[in-house]
């Protein structure tokens, strides 16, 4: 295809051509970054929790009047829940992965350190990994006799009595890899406070944090042998068969209310519901981004159709003359297709630079990673395809202009 005549025609429509190029460049830049952000959100939303999500339900209760003995209350609740048909295991926990709230501790490897090594989520509760289905990859789970009541720990820390403090912990693989890269974490000690050093006795494959907003630190968790007792901030997590979740949840709530009627149920949900709430904003944002991409591409495609239609109508006589001079229908079709290809290509080149610029800005202001190079050719292909599709209609119409038009006056 001869390109020179196309260029010389375009030179006569400089402003319009540049406007189209600008539109394609802007679309290309925004779409590349938007697709990238969608990918980023989807990846975040598919974060693993490390637990048997579809088998778990959560119940949270709040007392109306102060409970005399919160530990006895919790023990009785756990016993009541174990009696509910369909319940396979039950535990009292201070939080669940992705619950949207979390207890975090600043960990040190040496109490003399001035700065913390990192911040990790601290889980408290008996039978926690067993109930939630967090897989053990090394060492052992925490034993029931290692657990102590929360008020004992608080008092121990307040008066410096280290005998009353927990001595062991189970940590996640991610935390172990970060604290002691390439070493065996079993037997090593982490310091939760200056006096509270705990020895690692087990490693879990995974257990996500309560608020895993940041992908890099999302799996930094550890479990301490502390029993919280009944309280409005803690919840019971129940393991059951996925198809029985709703029934078991109802029966469990009823059983708990019967055990102590002076309580209000503040949460009762399946783990799947809990997880969906945590990622609701990300899902909404991905949806908005997808909507904007669709709208942008539609507007741009319609713009191309509109402009190409104008040009075809404007050049009817020229087309007729070319046809009369021996140009085939294919020649005319290819002429408009090539013209579109040239314009879109120029737009893509500008768009790539713009996309890169936008990405640099986003990286500086919104903690987004660098745009992978792969997005640029993908974006280019998409725009070329849309450009060709959009121009096809007008170009076909152009190719059907009969040669006889040349002989008519405009």
């Amino acid at each position: 295809m001869e390109v020179r005549p196309i260029l010389s025609t375009l030179r006569r429509h400089k402003t319009t051509s540049w406007l189209l190029i600008l539109e394609i460049a802007l679309t290309c830049a925004i779409v590349c970054n938007a697709v990238f952000m969608i990918g980023h959100r989807l990846q975040h939303m598919h974060m693993t929790s490390g637990i048997d999500e579809h088998s778990l339900v959560q119940i949270q209760l709040a007392e109306i009047a102060p409970t005399p003995d919160i530990y006895a209350r919790a023990r009785e609740d756990l016993a009541v829940l174990r009696q509910v048909p369909g319940v396979q295991a039950v535990a009292l926990t201070n939080q669940l992965p992705m619950e949207g709230r979390s207890a975090n501790s600043n960990l040190k490897l040496d109490p003399a350190q001035h700065e913390r090594t990192l911040t990790a989520t601290s889980y408290f509760g008996e039978d926690l990994p067993q109930t939630m289905g967090a897989r053990l990859v090394a060492g052992r789970y925490l034993a029931p006799e290692e657990f102590m009541n929360a008020d004992v720990v608080v008092k121990g820390l307040a008066n410096g009595d280290t005998k009353g403090l927990p001595a062991v912990t189970v940590i996640t693989q991610a935390l172990a890899d970060r604290l002691w890269p390439g070493q065996n974490p079993l037997g090593k000690t982490i310091y939760v406070t200056d006096q509270l050093g705990v020895r690692v006795v087990g490693v879990l494959a995974d257990l996500a944090r309560g608020t895993p907003y940041d992908d890099a630190t999302a799996h930094y968790s550890f479990i301490l042998p502390i029993f919280m007792g009944a309280g409005k901030d803690w919840s019971y997590v129940i393991r059951t068969r996925p198809q029985e979740r709703e029934i078991v949840l109802k029966a469990a709530v009823a059983a708990l209310k019967k055990a102590d009627p002076k309580r209000v149920v503040t949460k009762q949900q399946t783990y799947d519901e809990l997880r969906e709430k945590f990622f609701a904003d990300d899902r909404a944002m991905a949806g908005i981004l997808a909507g904007v991409i669709a709208a942008l591409l539609t507007v741009t495609a319609l713009g191309i159709v509109g402009l190409a239609s104008f040009w075809v109508a404007q050049r009817r006589r020229t087309i007729g003359v070319r046809r009369a001079l021996g140009a085939t229908r294919g020649d005319i079709l290819r002429y408009f297709q090539t013209e579109n290809f040239l314009l879109v290509s120029l737009g893509i080149v500008l768009g790539m630079m713009l996309a890169y610029g936008i990405n640099v800005f986003l990286m500086a202001h919104y903690e987004l990673p660098r745009l992978p190079g792969l997005y640029l050719p993908a974006g280019a292909l998409a725009l070329w395809a849309i450009g060709q599709l959009a121009v096809l209609g007008p170009a076909l119409r152009a190719s059907h202009v009969p040669p006889v038009v040349a002989t008519r006056s405009a």
């Binding site: 402003t15 802007l26 102060p66 001035h114 608080v154 509109g306 405009a410």
Partner: protein, 435 residues
Amino acid sequence: MFGYYFELALRMLRRNKALTALMVLAIALGIGTSMTTLTVLHVLTRDPLPGRSGTLYYPQIDPRDNSGAMPGKEPPEQLTLIDGFNLLHAKRADRQALMTGGTVPVQPDFAAIDPFYVEARYTTADFFPMFAASFRYGRGWDAADDEAKARDVVISSDLNARLFGGANSVGRTLRMADSLFRVVGVLGNWAPNPHFYDLDTGYYGHAEQVFIPLQSALDLHLQHEGSSDCWGNGTGGVGRIYPSPSCVWLQFWVRLDTPAKAADYQEFLIHYSAQQQALGRFVKAPNVRLRNVMQWLAYQQVVPDDVRLQTGLAFGFLLVCLVNTVGLMLAKFLRRGTEFSVRRALGASRRALFAQLLIESGVVGLAGGVGGLLLALTGLWIVRHRPSDYASLAHLDPAMLMTTFLLALGASLLAGLLPAWRACQVAPALQLKSH
């Protein structure tokens, strides 16, 4: 003349309905999305207490030990109980209030309503006058009630409606957490957004239902809600055990009417820190901050990143829509070169032609603007029905309505100027000669 041009414009636009529709739709979509996101951004960055926020300050001091605190670092975002009461009793500001969040079970007298939990604020007396809380009935308590650990409670109008049918409930008793309180005030329509005085319990759309004197709440061991940060051997509180002395978990606000008083107060904070250091309570050299409301909100970055991103995205989209419309309009005008040259040859001035074309593009812009406004209203309706904490705030106020109008007008003129100007450049003779 205007009427004639307007009629001409309508006739021209009708001649190519699909194209006109495309241009109007593109502008409407662009303006609709931009206005939706801009309105959300606008309500989220709003001053929670207009006219007052400049004199309200949030003092920060640094009681931490050396661990986890390097020189030049920001002090903690809350106060310990001891420092809170020290600063409160020092009474160095025009007004001051020490507070923290909580939740309490409300036990209605009648069996028809089951007990339920509500969010609470445990605070000292100056909270209400300092934050300009409006009362429907009664008023707040005073400093003497604070010290007397009075069982007083101020309730929201929502709770008043729920418990007392909206009647004047001042003097009635209310049972909460198995204790009896006396209602001394019912708030009017008062709920500052963002929830600046305690961001840890939520940024937006957040309002406490009951307000209880801080000392009374501590006395009764009512449950604390919010964040606590600890160092050393501190623990953040379990059940009814409050956070340790080496934990920050209270908010302290002061009103300082003049900049000079603010400067004096900053000096006082440094002096207080030095004094505590001399006493051995503080380890570090004085590290204080004194931010007013808007500075505090900016420092805490309360506006969600996603909202800013969406706004940027919407304006990018608007730009594409505008470029699209300019291109189409230009192509359309240029094609009518013959018509323009005939009009020019018949004596129409370039200015007259320009006016005619500008009106034609203005009609497109105006139609797009009206469409955009409708889309923005729809967009805000969708935002209000999403489960975000700021959902209920997404309303178009007069300022944003004006902005929409100006944006639509500006966008359409912008989209019309270039094509109109370019089309006016036709030389009458040349165009006529070729035909």
